[in-house]
């Protein structure tokens, strides 16, 4: 029942401008602080696993990046947002960085973190690179995961959003999904995170579970 409720909440809270309300999510009940209470995953378990999508965008160096090909077989965290978002985006990425710092280095090295900007006008490749670097080079986030910033035209970004079944960004990218998806090494996402803070413990708990190759 809790799982069903979580999925429903997840569906409702997809869209937000630099945010989605945390709402009455299970994580607010303290699951993150007590991972032993998680039934399987500490994030929102998806009732239907979602296959890793195929879409191609442009990386921060200007080269094509085929998400489905490059990240295949790797634990992958995927998020849509923008760097001028002062709220959900940095907090979500901070949770990712904190979580990665908690897992073994071998798992860090296998993991991709893909941030697709919904505001490609302001988020140049250089801005994306510098902004993302905060979340894997700062002392509290220090980790060896591969962080990738992706850009594209509005249509390309919408196509990528559609491919992972999150709501399409609007308002110049300032209204966007706040859903963080975790794909496993088996190329399926079975868990997502919708809350916008204090997800680090949940992510750190779930990452080893989706790494079947470990």
């Amino acid at each position: 029942m809790r799982r069903l409720a979580a999925v429903l909440v997840s569906a409702v809270l997809l869209l937000a401008a630099c945010s989605s309300g945390k709402g009455a999510t299970p994580n607010q009940t303290g699951l993150n602080d007590q991972p032993q209470q998680c039934s399987a995953y500490c994030g929102f378990g998806l009732t239907t696993p979602q296959p890793r999508p195929s879409f191609t965008l442009t990386d921060a160096t200007g080269k094509p990046f085929s998400f489905g090909t490059v990240t295949a077989g790797h634990p992958t965290l995927l998020f849509f947002g923008y760097t001028h978002c002062p709220d959900v985006c940095p907090e979500t990425m901070a949770d990712v960085g904190t979580a990665l710092a908690k897992v073994p280095v071998e798992l860090q090295q296998k993991t991709y973190v893909v941030f697709v900007t919904t505001d490609p006008t302001r988020d140049t490749g250089s801005v994306l690179t510098q902004w993302l670097s905060n979340f894997h080079t700062a002392d509290q986030f220090l980790n060896k995961a591969t962080f990738v910033g992706l850009r594209g035209t509005e249509d390309e970004i919408h196509a990528a959003e559609a491919a992972v079944h999150v709501n399409l960004s609007e308002d110049g990218g300032q209204t966007h999904s706040a859903e963080l998806l975790l794909f496993g090494s088996d190329d399926y996402a079975r868990v997502t995170y919708n809350s916008s803070s204090n997800e680090d413990t949940a992510i750190a708990h779930d990452l080893p579970l989706v790494d079947k190759s470990s």
């Binding site: 409702v12 809270l13 869209l15 937000a16 401008a17 630099c18 945010s19 989605s20 309300g21 945390k22 760097t83 001028h84 002062p86 709220d87 959900v88 940095p90 907090e91 990425m93 901070a94 949770d95 960085g97 904190t98 801005v127 510098q130 902004w131 905060n134 979340f135 700062a138 509290q140 986030f141 209204t175 706040a178 809350s195 916008s196 803070s197 680090d200």
Partner: protein, 161 residues
């Protein structure tokens, strides 16, 4: 946070208490005018903090909770800070984070919670670099109510209380 209530029996005692609380606010930061687990009496502001900008962006976000434990609705008109020239209230309306240029109505016996994903004050045109540990003054202006000043501590991403 346990509530603080002052019932001064004399001007001297009241003066000393006010001075002590004022000093505590200067030293500790994020000190509400009054506070309590269930919300204090009257209108009060608690749990104020600020998310530091993430370079290269130069935007910060302010958060707090306003308790309105009165029998009247209260209109929060605006927030100003010592961090930046532009301070725009945002709350979630219909699932979408929305700028509230006209302020926010806080119903009687309710509260306004600005937290990550729930709402924030977008702080732009910063007066200078903000770094974790800095203390920033915030003033909340209400209709038909005296402004409330609080001090908010700056936190790096992922480290907020």
């Amino acid at each position: 946070m346990r509530g603080t209530r002052i019932e001064a029996s004399g001007a001297l005692v009241a003066g000393v208490l006010v001075l002590a609380l004022g000093l505590a606010g200067l030293i500790l930061g994020s000190v509400p005018q009054s506070s309590g687990d269930q919300g204090p009496q009257g209108v009060s502001v608690v749990s104020a903090w600020i998310a530091a900008p993430v370079p290269p962006t130069e935007l910060a976000a302010g958060y707090f909770t306003v308790y309105n434990n009165t029998d009247s609705d209260v209109q929060l008109l605006k927030v100003t800070t010592s961090a930046g020239a532009s301070n725009v209230l945002h709350t979630v309306v219909g699932g979408v984070m929305t700028a509230q240029e006209g302020g926010v109505l806080i119903r009687a016996r309710s509260s306004l919670v600005l937290s990550v994903g729930e709402g924030h004050v977008m702080i732009d045109q910063l007066f200078g670099k903000l770094k974790a540990g800095d203390l920033i003054s915030m003033e909340l202006t209400f209709a038909d109510l005296a402004p409330i000043d609080v001090t908010a501590k700056v936190y790096a991403p992922g480290t907020h209380p």
